[in-house]
Symmetry: D4
Subunit: 168 residues, 8 copies
């Protein structure tokens, strides 16, 4: 199957963070691709990537970058596909990347998730795809239900393990 989500990151050093996005999409059987292209070091490659993405069948782009993180915004400026930005924590606790991604000028939005929020970026991509893909929609409903169960189970275990804290 052709990829419909494209994960792009500014540097291969962002890979350990972005693997969580890849894993989620893989788990949900959503076809995706993953590339490292720098807005600053390979601008023509980025342009080629961004302008050609829709034609290649890509529906959502997840772009991750750290520091003066321009990659998500640069890609967003060259496509009408929704672009999800992931600020990578590389300096200043990730605050520089967050501001450089989220504070886009009027006209060119980037859908920003939290610092190092790779998993949430992938979930958001799936939610967008679910708008017109019933199979993915059902997976998202199941995913959310599962999330709930995990917490409830964790709470039950907490109760057991920490019983000694209960005052009788």
């Amino acid at each position: 199957m052709n990829p419909i989500v494209s994960i792009i990151m500014g540097s291969t050093s962002d890979l350990p963070v972005m693997e969580a996005a890849a894993k989620f999409l893989d788990d949900q059987k959503i076809p995706f691709e993953m590339n490292a292209l720098s807005a600053h070091r390979t601008p023509e490659k980025v342009e080629e990537f961004a302008t050609g993405a829709q034609t290649r069948g890509i529906k959502v782009i997840i772009a991750a970058a750290g520091m003066a993180a321009h990659l998500p915004g640069v890609i967003a400026s060259m496509t009408t596909l929704p672009v999800i930005g992931v600020p990578i924590k590389a300096s200043l606790d990730g605050m520089d990347a967050l501001l450089a991604i989220v504070q886009m000028p009027p006209g060119i939005p980037v859908a920003t998730v939290g610092i190092n929020g790779a998993l949430n970026a992938a979930i958001l991509a799936a939610e967008m795809l679910a708008l017109s893909d019933e199979a993915i929609h059902e997976k998202m409903v199941a995913f959310k239900e599962n999330l709930k169960k995990k917490i409830v189970k964790a709470n039950e275990e907490l109760t057991d393990i920490k019983f000694n804290y209960k005052v009788d």
Copy 2:
């Protein structure tokens, strides 16, 4: 037509900012609704809203809030629809709202735009809808083209007006 985008804000005082989102959707003939519901003051109403949105035909939710801005995250926790968060500048230059919206825990993303970024939230909603709606897609391409023309025109005017700065 039934609304497919729902704009919700934490307080009617957010209205002057959020009108830019309404105006954009109106211009693009994308049917929408607009409500003020507080995550903290009307929690049941918010729950009713969030859990019922999809059934009513809503496809994308734009949620705006200031200060400890919980509304977008609370709604995102109750639906699998994509939720776009708009941090409203009400205190601390909007930094509190930005962090309270974007730094969501793993599992529940909010697609955050810039502080007071109402227009970008609406564009982002349209980009998501365009994934499965060719008419909206064409509008977005035209919108982006138009944006470019405005800047180019502004630059031309700049050249004329500021000619006196040109050294011969």
Copy 3:
């Protein structure tokens, strides 16, 4: 005895921090319970918890959360019991959690303590209970007296150990 203080945290990963609160309440023989429920991943459980707390005999709620820490505020919106918020340091040095907890909108206060301030949250809960419970009040007076003695004793030890710094 039924619990009168309820400690609730957004994730079991907050447990190492929150144990200090449990320990203090245990030491003071104030009956309490401890649960992990996520505002975002288990919203109905949180609602059930918050709306039922008072009926179950809970008098004060201590709610801890990190990042976009909505749990304390969400609970506060569903009860008239005093809610004490503990910002957990999970990202950005805890500044995101602090702002997401303390900057509540008019009408729904959260009594916020310092970042990772679990012990202080428990003391604050005890101070509230002491308003109408003479036994707890006496414990708090003793606790405060004891705190003083520890510092005075630490200072005396400091004087002895560091005597070599004294210039004669």
Copy 4:
């Protein structure tokens, strides 16, 4: 009736902000007093105030201060009554006051509300009093219900006024 809540502020310049607390307590018929005493300029007066408050019948103290806001913490160090701290925005957008109030060392909590959060401080005080005063408890339930109604009504008005934004 003797006051049971004491509002204290570091400077009379904090009065315009703190009036919201006074107004709320007055509306709820909760007897209170209001004073201006500086932790730095009148330390003995502050000590006299803090150590004598409980004996005079005070149950909750609301302390407001700006900049290096020591007043709430200093008072908290001299009493076992719960102390609610209100950071006043006087410089640095109130961030200095917020940190100087909320980041208390282990042992001496201050229940901190948002920057300029005078109303929330008063509500929090009422919630504490409501733990042992059924009349106040009922008022708080009514207050919360009323808050909800106002938002719902505001939303209804919003719908009417902004009808022109609805796309048919």
Copy 5:
């Protein structure tokens, strides 16, 4: 004469700030041009500008932008000419623009000046040109000398006007 310095800004709204740069270059008789091109709204125009600048005889580029200020970095990625970045104060006191400009990844520097530092950007451009242009070098020496004189003169006037503060 052909321009050797090119001032480019992300939006015509940056013009009031950037005029100080234009004025300085005009005063020093350094030929320059001034354009408004958005990294996000006119990416192809920016690319055309950046890749063609050197051929057209441009030696230094001054690029100004606010918010998620990508323009300076995007241009720097497409040329080996030195690029001077001016963070424009449009939101968050200009901190977002500063970080989005200065925190460039290894390999693509932007010579960043202070927030709204248009004059300093122009002086820095002149200093770079002075490395191989003796006439500009002499102008810079004279400019610096003049700067000194103004301060010394201002100090003398200060002494006169404020004589009443001198205690005899």
Copy 6:
């Protein structure tokens, strides 16, 4: 009388803030001088000033500057007289000036006061002088006593004016 305190500021634009320091010293009859010299624009003048200050009878230097506020540190590096630094709010709410003054490297301290804290700088200078000048010491005791009285009086007035807030 020869000046024993020297107020120096980076720019005459700092004068409105620094007048509070001049006024205090004048009130206390402490002889002083006031100059504007820029660390960056008149470095030789600053050096001449700093290295000659002690010989001219100066005992304490108050140095004020905004933005990248180097003046206090530069002077401190050239004298063994105590240097008091006043961060001037000119950008970023004065945070840049505060950090650029207070975060001095080991070996060269600057006694930093709050942002725009001109009055406190003058009081601090007087406290230092009071160590060896009994007349100034007595003035400082009186000043502090007076400060207290003003607050107590303000509080009394507060009580009268705001009587309507007292619930009977």
Copy 7:
């Protein structure tokens, strides 16, 4: 000899940082004392300390504290001796302590040094004492000269060690 400098810290956990101050004073043969007293946990001890310091012969007080660092300001409010504040890095990189110490209200200055700046606090104390003690003054001149020599020597060593970077 009786101590003339008093080092006081909010907690014995501040000792590792404050030892640099003790060491400097010891090296310079300036008699000092060192105590741990908490503004919040031992307020009466702090008051006793602050109001009695001058009578006991103390001339300068160095007060260190972390988090909501009230100790320096509280002491400054109870004496006319100069108080030097040392912000201790315990949370938020020390920014909370810095703001809680430096942003004192008009009338009560604290001479603040950098975060963890214990050595600089001691040097500053010595500079104040040097105003009326020729022996200390000479030591400070020698100290400063020595500081210079160390840097010059370090630079010479740098030149030797790093010779391989020199391009011939």
Copy 8:
């Protein structure tokens, strides 16, 4: 060959960071020198260095410093050579150094690069030199081309290694 770039740092502890600048210049065969001189501890040495640099043939100065980083600005105040400032991360994540370097007053620019951005400082210096040195210009073009190739190659390797993430 005589050095044409001069690297100067405030402390030898900055050396591990600044080696990246030295390495780049060495690789490009651009003659340089490297010194450690403190703006605060060796002000006369710094003055001697800054005022004599141009005569000795230096064309660009790279100045690195941490904390209240005055070195770049102090040097810039004493020469018309372009000065590149490198904020060293020593405290507060390097934010203090960044602000103390970049926020220079009008008239005295410092070309600031990112926190610990030693490599970028050296590249920027080379770009300035390339304006009048064709050999260096060619090296910079080659360097940039090489940078691109590395990223493209890294991306290709990424594709191979991470093939398992590709959904078929």
